[in-house]
Symmetry: C2
Subunit: 461 residues, 2 copies
Amino acid sequence: MLFPALVDAWVGNPDWQVFAVTSGIVIFVGSILFATNFARHEELTVQQAFLLTVSIWVIIPTFGALPFVYSELSLSYTDAFFEAMSGLSTTGSTVITGLDGAPPGILLWRGLLQWFGGVGIIIMAVIILPLLQIGGMQLFKVAAFDTSEKVLPRAAQLGFAISILYVALTMICGVALWVAGMTPFEATCHAFTTIATGGFSTSDGSVGHFDSSLIDYIVVMFMIVGSMPFILYLKLVRGQSWILWQDSQVRWFLALLALLVSFVTLWLWLGGQYDLAGALRFASFNVVSIVTGTGFATTDYTTWGSLAILLFFFIMFIGGCAGSTSCGIKIFRFQVLCSMLASQLKHVLRPSGVFIPRYNGQPITEDVAGSVISYLFLFIASFLVLAVGLSLTGLDFVTAVSGAGTAMANVGPALGPMIGPSGTFQALPDTAKWFLTFGMLLGRLELFAVLVLFIPTFWRA
Amino acid sequence: MLFPALVDAWVGNPDWQVFAVTSGIVIFVGSILFATNFARHEELTVQQAFLLTVSIWVIIPTFGALPFVYSELSLSYTDAFFEAMSGLSTTGSTVITGLDGAPPGILLWRGLLQWFGGVGIIIMAVIILPLLQIGGMQLFKVAAFDTSEKVLPRAAQLGFAISILYVALTMICGVALWVAGMTPFEATCHAFTTIATGGFSTSDGSVGHFDSSLIDYIVVMFMIVGSMPFILYLKLVRGQSWILWQDSQVRWFLALLALLVSFVTLWLWLGGQYDLAGALRFASFNVVSIVTGTGFATTDYTTWGSLAILLFFFIMFIGGCAGSTSCGIKIFRFQVLCSMLASQLKHVLRPSGVFIPRYNGQPITEDVAGSVISYLFLFIASFLVLAVGLSLTGLDFVTAVSGAGTAMANVGPALGPMIGPSGTFQALPDTAKWFLTFGMLLGRLELFAVLVLFIPTFWRA
Ligand SMILES: [K+]
Ligand SMILES: [K+]
């Protein structure tokens, strides 16, 4: 947190003391945690790995909320924690209105939370989740980890490489946005939250505030970059030029985006509201923003009509690729499902035949299939419980349902007059904010990591 | 169709000629079909079985729609086909307003369509679906069918026994409703549509028209009776007194109903709108009606607040037990999913352990698991496509989403001002009506039976 403190000191804002104090606390607590939990155990048990993972994602926003409380915004702790969790989980739902006049330190802090959250989740997805064997993430186990006994040094090396790459991509994005017309500060903040598919902006009007088609397309490109498997970029850098295209998850993801963008472009264009170029610009930006779970908006797409509302509700669950900063259900799970369905249909027509579902050319093991299915079932169940919980606090049907979805898929904006793309989460009851905060955590940690903590046998082991 | 003709002749309504002519056509076409398709093949191929099944469920409403066209209601063919498919599939969505003054023959015809549809689906679920191995229905393969080579005689015997039982239960229900205060005609119509979990009524006010708590509870009881596996009733009659309670699907179903009714009762009572007895009466009737997919209403529950709207939207997907007249996703599929999820969670905590999911005490085979999962995935996918299709015809979010759900789960009423429990489907655009009609067929035939016809390889075999 020294960086926002310097920025605030530089623009002469008294908030810098707040950042300095907060940074001190976080560094202090962080060191203790690191010392006791991580360094002392070279080999973590499964239980400890779960507990450590969840602790990190709860403790950081617990302290990361402090700048929002102590700054001139004076948010309540509920609001501040909501904002911090929304940042770290790269959700991007906000309770702050008047972003355009907010202290730069606060804007930068929001961007940094998302930026750290983004790289944190990539490293977690590559290093920890496959070992925990949850939600089908074991498909992405890095081969080297299986043979080597010393996991930690290899993991640290991999994490370092990913971080370097992440910084480099952020810088390219930032420079491009700056060249395209943003101020250096705006470009920095938006680079942080674009590569992290986070969606926090420096303006209430989100990216629409800049009203530049060049900026729109740059952001579209880096939202897509942020939603693809970062481990493939490493391979790309090491000379495997076609690696991205060889990955079936990436192919499906890009094909799906192309399909959805074409459909919405055509529909907007035929609707007569935009010319073809305008339709493509608004369709590509907003569709990519919601599918990747970034949550920027360049216009209030809920005014496009009932088809748009329905479509934007459904596509927010899709998400990007595993091993990216994107959340949601993720492409590979749909691939596993489609493959299982195709085998099943063939089996129905030829009951004597044996048809094996495959992912990326490999047979899908019963273990992977079972954990993908369990993930989806848990996702739907959690979504229903969360939506019912939200409606118990008095929210209407559309707000409750879309709020639950946007939180669990870490998207950001929801639907309806309150929490739609042109609203904020400010006016929701505190209980609803806590429910949503929990939903963000649940979605970000692929459900299982959080929910196992609620199983009594977890604590008995 | 001779029965409604006699009723109309009896009450002196000229519609009887319409019924007589229609009956003639149906009997004629039916005989030809029976002769060519069924009697000549003692052993059907899988393809023929699929084709025969779907044909029956398309041809009957094609002709069953005629009375609605030629009666004094003079419905358009779209409306008439919608009404007939809604009847035969036991959905119960209606395009007719002014039921209270409609010709008795028409009211009876609607009841009969549902009644025949109800017994048709039970027989199909017991005899055909397990052989087609779709949607996990192979769990309910009748043991005797596996060993015997001559399936047809056994099947006919079983179908006959189920039909007798179905008639007997309908008569008990009818007499109970008559004693409770309905006219013999109303009691007959409601007995038909209650046991079939169909939901067509003789009044625009549905069962709420009678305003009798005795009638409400009788209907609740027989909606539950209609949603349990009829093959268990046969065993019950043959002296296996505890068979119902020994079946885990029945136990889960009743427990779930008890839980939901208690929750809604408590919530209504605490809300202060009803006293405890009133809350129990309205909660039990409307919750049971929607969970079982019957679709009767005794009040407009959408005025109960946002929690009720959300809850009634979710519970309409649940459905009853396999082998009943009820539709929806069905209890056993949730049991299979829960069991898979439980095994998965145990496996996550103890990666070295082996945990086998079970249904009713038996291990769930990979085949059954795969086909349950495929069913659910297809259900969700079809639901999304149907909802998008409906919103393309201009329907709003809530109408499109709840309309798609109510059609596919064969429930009847949806949500929103147009097609909620106090509205009708009359005002929808024709395209939307055809979409919904297709959705009803899809849901009723467990998706696969219809969708395989769209696979090119189906026709090549
Ligand atoms: K986001
Ligand atoms: K129904």
